[in-house]
Symmetry: C2
Subunit: 156 residues, 2 copies
């Protein structure tokens, strides 16, 4: 790690959508799935509006000392009956800007999400990471996660 | 498969909570996590109330021809920015009563969830299944799912 950059974790705003999409697209898997165009397809803003009004979902960004957005993460708090009715936290869409990696930014975001899920009464935090993302898997194990499950997906 | 039992998939009601918890507990992993007591701990009913008022979550049960509840499944529709702002479907807590397995009940529930997720605009349905649940993994592959991800969990 090239030293740690302290970041501020804050809720994403609609004017962060373009930089978030740029991070989602700057990735071997994301490149094929996103449409990083100017103007950005309206579907991204519609999705942001849905996320923004859902009280169980928090889309956050990491802001560096200059106020630049250098990371993003989405946390869903999901109620359910299992584990004696404890909610679960689901972490999705974790990205760090490519020029800011290996500075502990992903770790600060994930630790924020874990603390937030605990504070909301979750007994479990879960996430899916693609089989090919071996570095990500190591990262999560370092933060205390176990590779206990198979993540199954069906894409239409 | 010992022939297919057609089931009716319907939203769970609060008077289904005990039978759902019994199914969650009737399982090597669930046994240690649940408290199948009479009366049932209030936390289960509190969780049911949260699920019931969340418009993005559907907890459903499978009812056999006699009106008995023989399966359950929870589907969450999760908005998010990735994949051009498409929502994702997350399937959780899939269970079939032990005396009713191998009759296509799980398949009918999962197919219902996949159709529902598509109808709600999802481009992806995902789920985590424990590494030890090899039969479940085979079942999901048969239904078109790919074991594409590692499911990472952190339990408090």
């Amino acid at each position: 790690m090239n030293g740690v950059s302290r970041v501020k974790i804050r809720p994403a705003r609609s004017d962060d959508v373009a930089v978030i999409v740029a991070m989602l697209a700057d990735d071997a898997l994301g490149r094929a799935r996103e449409r990083l165009e100017v103007p950005l397809p309206e579907s991204y803003f519609e999705a942001f509006a849905k996320v923004d009004r859902d009280p169980n979902i928090q889309l956050v960004v990491a802001e560096d000392g200059e106020g630049a957005v250098v990371g993003c993460l989405q946390l869903c708090i999901l109620p359910g009956l299992s584990s004696q009715g404890a909610s679960r936290g689901l972490i999705e869409d974790v990205r760090v800007a490519s020029h800011c990696r290996s500075r502990g930014i992903g770790e600060q975001m994930v630790q924020w999400a874990v603390a937030e899920a605990r504070a909301k009464g979750c007994k479990l935090v879960e996430l899916l990471t693609h089989n090919t993302r071996v570095d990500a898997q190591r990262f999560y194990v370092r933060l205390g996660f176990a590779p206990s499950h198979v993540g199954m997906t069906l894409r239409f």
